[in-house]
Assembly symmetry: C2
Homo-oligomer: 133 residues x 2
């Protein structure tokens, strides 16, 4: 019995719509169809979708995933480009972490010492509406 799109989705923790979306944007190949026009998948597609999912979970963009897939298809090629994509992404993650930490610091500063009372005295509103306005 052939693997349906639903089976593939379940096996990889993906939604059926997302699988179709990946096909539409060319991340997954156009699969053969059954006589009743159902998509029919094999082991290769399962592996490919697993790869995509894992890369997406690690925060790689669709275009990065596309590049990784292309590079990984050439088993004889040099893995330097792969390494570069991964390091670029790591740098991006580090940047986001730093941004988010700074944001948390600011947010905490804004929140401090609001113990209820009238909006007119609220330090959060004060902090949000700086004097420069």
């Amino acid at each position: 019995m052939a693997t349906t799109i639903g089976d593939l989705a379940r096996a990889t923790g993906t939604k059926v719509e997302t699988v179709r979306y990946y096909e539409r944007i060319g991340l997954l190949p156009v699969p053969p169809r059954t006589s009743s026009n159902y998509r029919s998948y094999g082991a290769a597609e399962l592996a490919r979708l697993s790869f995509i999912r894992r890369a997406r979970d690690l925060g790689f963009s669709i275009e990065q995933v596309r590049a990784l897939l292309t590079l990984s298809d050439d088993r004889q090629g040099d893995c330097a480009s792969i390494d570069e994509i991964a390091h670029t992404h790591l740098a991006e993650v580090e940047r986001k972490l730093a941004d988010l930490k700074a944001l948390r610091r600011e947010l905490k500063a804004v929140i401090t010492s609001c113990k209820g009372g009238a909006v007119a005295d609220c330090r959060i509103i004060e902090a949000l509406a700086p004097v420069r306005a």
Copy 2:
């Protein structure tokens, strides 16, 4: 001389299109127009947009900003709701931070010890395509 949309944008570090967008979604009031149909702003709008910008910079969603603006307009009201929105947002930021740290950890693990060579031996590709596939 009246404040144009461009002046307002410059004064708050916003793009003109974004100011119009805020008006369209009802974050900013519909301003009066000059005889040549230009939007004309005053100090209140400048303060309001500054508030919006600051809240957005702190990562509050548009809907949260809308709520904060409504709440802050009632100067006699209780600031507990404001406090709640801020804490909810902080919790969200903490969650994202934790997620991002976990992601960085995993990403670093994936990257380790790729020293060039053929794609077939690349540990990054290996790590991305787990055996379960």
